[in-house]
């Protein structure tokens, strides 16, 4: 099973990159949601 570690490293690092990217999207979405709620509450008519 020569190079098995390299094969698993390639797949795991690749999946890790996708996962990290998704986490950054989720984090940015959360921050924007908070900002939208804050702005909605700051408007006098409470839109």
């Amino acid at each position: 099973m020569k190079n098995l570690n390299s094969v698993f490293a390639a797949y795991l690092i690749g999946w890790g990159v996708f996962f990290l990217f998704y986490v950054t999207i989720a984090k940015r979405a959360h921050d924007l949601r908070v900002e939208i709620d804050r702005l909605k509450h700051s408007l006098p008519r409470g839109k």
């Binding site: 190079n3 094969v7 990159v17 979405a29 949601r33 909605k40």
Partner: protein, 225 residues
């Protein structure tokens, strides 16, 4: 929201299934052995990345023509996802190359043009952070995106037009090229899985742009009062 979650679940299931197919279903390549199994993930990611850049290019053209913000949102979403996929290509490639070539990297036409492509789309995203005004940002980044896409045909043609350390194409490579039937099926399945994953990520990223637009509208309303 439910549709997006469903798309995400399908993408994850397909990516796991494609990894299983690459590791256990595809036959072992005669000269390279086990390490060649990176090929399915590497090439699948590369094709999905190129297609994401193509979507970005089309949206850049459409924005320049129609000036509708949705094209700019889809362009930046596709560019980011294409960049992530190309990053995976640039990481998995050297891991595959090292045991086979004895080196991690060489500045041949394919590797260099792919690295330049990565740099061009990093520049595209950086450019967007430098311009405050949304319409100006969208127009200038669209023009830059159209220019950046010119490297994609170079990446495609590099292993066809020049002698490279990178292997010759096994699909659309002309006479003498080709792939064993099961390997070809696993490759196409892996590419399909990466495209579904790319679609899911583009949709998620596009929703961010919609939310940014909502924030802009609310900020303008707040300032007007």
């Amino acid at each position: 929201m439910v549709k997006r979650m469903l798309l995400g679940a399908v993408a994850i299931a397909l990516v796991i299934a494609s990894a299983y197919a690459a590791l256990y279903v595809a036959p072992e390549e005669r000269t390279m052995g086990l390490i060649q199994r990176i090929f399915y993930f590497h090439v699948g990611s590369a094709w999905a990345g190129m297609d994401a850049f193509f979507v970005c290019f089309v949206c850049n053209l459409l924005y320049v023509w129609k000036r509708a913000p949705k094209y700019d949102w889809l362009a930046v979403s596709s560019a980011e996802v294409g960049l992530v996929l190309t990053t995976v290509v640039l990481i998995t490639g050297p891991i595959w190359a090292h045991p086979v070539w004895g080196i991690w990297w060489t500045w041949d036409a394919r590797l260099t043009s792919t690295f330049v492509l990565w740099l061009l789309y990093v520049s595209y995203l950086l450019l967007r952070t430098l311009i405050e005004e949304p319409e100006r940002r969208a127009l200038l980044s669209s023009l830059f995106g159209i220019f950046a896409f010119l490297d994609v045909p170079l990446v495609f043609g590099a292993i066809r037009w020049w002698r490279t350390q990178h292997p010759s194409p096994v699909i659309m490579g002309g006479p003498g090229s080709g792939l064993e039937h099961t390997m070809k099926l696993v490759l196409f399945f892996s590419a399909f899985a990466m495209h579904v994953l790319a679609l899911f990520l583009i949709v998620e990223r596009y929703v961010l742009e919609e939310m940014k637009n909502d924030v802009d509208i609310l900020q303008r309303e707040a300032e007007a009062q």
